[in-house]
């Protein structure tokens, strides 16, 4: 790979890779909100604090409890597109990993269904009236469900990239993964999720209150700042350790040429976010700083997502898939897709406009 992603590939492979990474980024932003949001709600419920209003009833946790079911729905829907494009780009690897993990993979569906319904319980008006033990059990169960699903995806990804081990994994039924690599990937993911949730929840809090500098919101913004800064530190440290530990032929030269702009973007993104949140922690809510943190977040997410793909591309023989990708690109329907992407983005925007207009009128 001697040029920058995705330029070094034939056109069809580049197209599918870009579509996969782009839709994965949208999905991942929402995943972050759900994972970190459920972790925050779990913490706020288990450690209610000493104030008059328990943490779980304060603006941030309330907003999360209110929105998590919808965002999980949006996350799952957004996940359909990368799930589709991964079957075009890496069909053999993805299918084989699914089959080798078998029920250990399929179990993500009932686990997600369980988490979904538990989120509706947490959102319900009667939840706060339940005993502390039951509430703690429910919020922990939800967080555990999402961490488990994350673990399953990590396992799937690692098995898919280790082709030489497939027959042995099949014969023994044991998926021998490096605990260090799994732990580091999970830490990157959880740390990134905190940054993701902080940005999205920050805008929710900003929209919620007419005067964002009001006392409860200012407290919550400081809390979000700590949450985001902690997440960014965790993700950065774990990502560095992962790249140093990884034995997946991710040479520095590969990163230097193939993904250098994305490495730079990720680093700048993390620094911009850290600066924006540090200033918000000192100054309280400020929409410009929130916009700055959002910009940094998008940079970091794009950079990290391409880096993630670079690691995968270094461990699979992508050239073997060029012809298959070219065959797929020759199949008709692309123009239909493009037309409906534009049309349906307009329809969704129109729906939001109708609601905003309707609410204002009343």
């Amino acid at each position: 790979m001697d040029s920058t992603f995705p330029v070094g590939f034939p056109m069809p492979t580049a197209l599918y890779l870009v579509l996969y990474v782009a839709t994965f980024i949208i999905h991942q932003a929402l995943v972050g909100y759900v994972v970190a949001g459920s972790l925050y709600v779990a913490w706020a419920t288990i450690a209610p604090g000493r104030g008059d209003t328990p943490r779980a009833e304060q603006p941030l946790a309330s907003a999360l409890r209110d929105w998590l079911p919808f965002v999980l729905s949006a996350t799952i829907t957004a996940g359909v597109a990368p799930l589709l494009f991964i079957q075009i780009v890496y069909p053999r690897h993805f299918y084989t990993a699914n089959l080798l993990l078998s029920w250990r993979w399929m179990i993500v569906i009932p686990v997600l269904i369980t988490a979904f319904y538990l989120l509706y319980l947490i959102k319900g008006a009667t939840f706060s009236k339940w005993s502390y033990q039951v509430r703690a059990a429910v919020v922990l169960a939800v967080a555990a469900c999402f961490l488990f699903v994350g673990f399953c995806w990590t396992a799937n990804h690692l098995v898919a990239n280790n082709e030489s081990a497939w027959p042995e994994v099949y014969a023994s039924g044991n998926v021998s993964l490096s605990a260090t690599l799994v732990a580091l990937r999970m830490l990157v993911w959880v740390g990134g999720a905190c940054a993701s949730m902080a940005v999205i929840a920050g805008w929710q809090l900003a929209a919620q209150s007419g005067s964002p500098s009001s006392q409860p919101i200012a407290v919550e913004i400081r809390r979000l700042a700590r949450f985001s800064l902690g997440g960014l530190a965790l993700a950065s440290a774990a990502a560095t350790a992962y790249l140093l530990q990884s034995d997946q032929a991710v040479s520095l030269s590969t990163l230097r040429v193939f993904a250098l702009p994305y490495v730079v973007a990720a680093v700048i993104g993390v620094l911009v976010q850290a600066a924006a949140w540090a200033m918000q922690w000192r100054l309280g809510m400020n929409r410009r700083l929130l916009a700055m943190a959002s910009f940094g977040y998008i940079l970091a997410l794009v950079g990290a997502s391409v880096l993630r793909e670079t690691v995968r591309l270094a461990s699979v023989d992508i050239a073997e898939l060029y012809q298959r990708n070219a065959d797929a690109a020759a199949v008709g329907g692309f123009s239909v897709f493009l037309v409906f992407v534009v049309l349906n983005v307009a329809v969704i925007t129109g729906c939001i406009w109708i609601v905003q207009k309707g609410i204002r009128k009343l």
Binding site: M106, Y120, F337, V347, C351, I354, V355, G358
Partner: protein, 466 residues
């Protein structure tokens, strides 16, 4: 070079049943969501026109049910059906994705519209005017129906690829011969499920008196009326599918005939109750009866989906891919090199085979048979071949597509066929610790002759496809 994937064992169930189970639940929920959108538009219109004073209250309650059941279970079983399809036949789902991924991606954009419009309505409709609410519901209903429109084209292509076989055009594959009858039939099923679910929901609205509930049920029953078109659409669908598939459904395969009968009987029962009880005599329907009718509708859906899946035999995609993931144009090569030549996966499990031939036979079974059969569970080979003599078994398997036209041709060498026969015999005998290897050249020569007589073409003709 074909891709050979690892195969998982679902014994005592056959993989097709696992797939069927997930598919039936998802289809039921998804069609309920599609019909639910249309039903909500109708009730919103009734509310706006002042034709039913309780319609607005009903819309509120029904949408909550739709969100809790369809948005959660419907969405996740949709992902689940993809995962299950990969577990059962990655080659089939891979071919579907390969040929229709842009349409699937288009369907995804409609999923996004569904979720956005649905949740905007769910969160804000109490704060919106009637027209804004109606617009959101209409957008939701159209988006959910278009998702049915798209997936219907892909699924019906599996049985009736039509001109696509020659042109490979996405449009020809999508608007295939059974597309329209299937789409119209599924749309009516969606309306039926939504109306029956409405009858259940109305009965849970304890804040309404019986007269109010009755008035809502009478309105919901209007959506059951299109059921009268079902027999015509069913006949149209049957006329469009291949003659061999039609033959199996209409008596050639007792199991499929039975499931078709269950589906028809359940649909008739619902239709008769709706027409006579609800529309003509304007009866009230209580929660228990409504739930029973909904369960009958589930039975009808299950029967219909079983028949639709089974009618494709011996293919999973007609004339493109056999059920066991072997392509028709691969058979001749596999007869020479063997079906295990490209299979890197060893046999797994704690079975101790007395000789290598039996292990080879087990792997042949896994590659060619295990998608539809088990050894001694559901559709078990031991039971199916119990009365066959040894040579009869060899010939029947060698001429498999002529033994039963819904079976694919055997795709392996004579040695592999003999190893499969020995494996079945050994398994039927209870897995004895000593078993002689069978490598008589005369036997292998006989098998070779039978294989040549059978040819490599499927037992069903390409011509009988409209």
């Amino acid at each position: 070079m074909p891709e050979v994937y690892p195969v998982n064992d679902f014994s005592p169930l056959m993989p097709g049943l696992v797939m069927g189970g997930v598919a039936i639940v998802h289809v039921f929920l998804a069609q309920f969501a599609v019909g639910g959108g249309m039903l909500l538009c109708y009730f919103q219109w009734l509310a706006m026109q002042g034709r039913n004073p309780f319609a607005r209250q009903f819309v509120d309650g029904y949408f909550k049910v739709l969100v809790l059941i369809s948005f959660v279970l419907g969405a996740l079983t949709g992902v689940g059906i993809w995962f299950t399809a990969i577990q059962i036949s990655p080659a089939t789902i891979g071919a579907m994705v390969h040929n229709f991924h842009w349409l699937w991606a288009t369907e995804w954009t409609f999923f996004c519209v569904e979720i956005a419009s649905g949740y905007l309505f769910y969160r804000y409709h109490r704060r919106l005017g009637d027209r804004a609410s109606m617009t959101l519901l209409t957008v939701y209903a159209i988006a959910s129906w278009v998702s049915l429109f798209i997936i219907n084209g892909i699924l019906s292509w599996q049985l009736t690829p039509g001109r696509w076989l020659e042109t490979k055009s996405v449009a020809d594959g999508f608007f295939n011969p059974s597309f329209w009858p299937s789409l119209l039939f599924r749309t009516i099923v969606s309306l039926t499920l939504a109306a029956l679910a409405a009858c259940v929901v109305v009965n849970t609205m304890s804040e309404l008196n019986r007269q109010a509930r009755w008035s809502l049920i009478q309105r919901a029953a209007h959506l059951l009326l299109p059921m009268v078109a079902m027999p015509v659409l069913g006949i149209w669908y049957l006329a469009e599918i291949p003659a061999d598939s039609r033959g199996w459904i209409l008596g050639g395969s007792p199991a499929m005939m039975l499931f078709l009968s269950i589906s028809i009987a359940a649909s008739l029962a619902i239709g008769a109750y709706a027409l006579i009880g609800l529309v003509l005599r304007k009866l009230y329907i209580n929660g228990a009866t409504a739930t029973l009718l909904l369960l009958l509708a589930f039975g009808a859906t299950a029967g219909g989906e079983f028949v639709r899946e089974g009618a494709r035999k011996p293919f999973s995609i007609r004339h493109v891919l056999y059920s066991n993931s072997i392509r028709p144009d691969e058979v001749a090569r596999l007869r020479k090199v063997g079906c295990l030549a490209d299979d890197p996966y060893p046999w797994r499990g704690d079975t101790e085979f007395p000789n290598e031939q039996l292990e080879q036979g087990a792997r042949v079974y896994r590659r060619l048979c295990s998608i539809c059969h088990t050894v001694d569970g559901v559709n078990g080979l031991a039971e199916l071949t119990a009365t066959w003599e040894l040579d009869q078994m060899r010939m029947n398997i060698a001429k498999l597509q002529h033994t039963k036209a819904f079976m694919p041709p055997f795709a392996g060498t004579p040695q592999e066929l003999e190893s499969l026969v020995q494996f079945i015999q050994w398994s039927s005998a209870g897995g004895e610790t000593h078993w002689e290897t069978s490598n008589n050249p005369k036997t292998l020569a006989r098998i070779q002759k039978w294989l040549e007589e059978a040819g490599t073409q499927p037992g069903v003709s390409k011509r009988n496809h409209r």
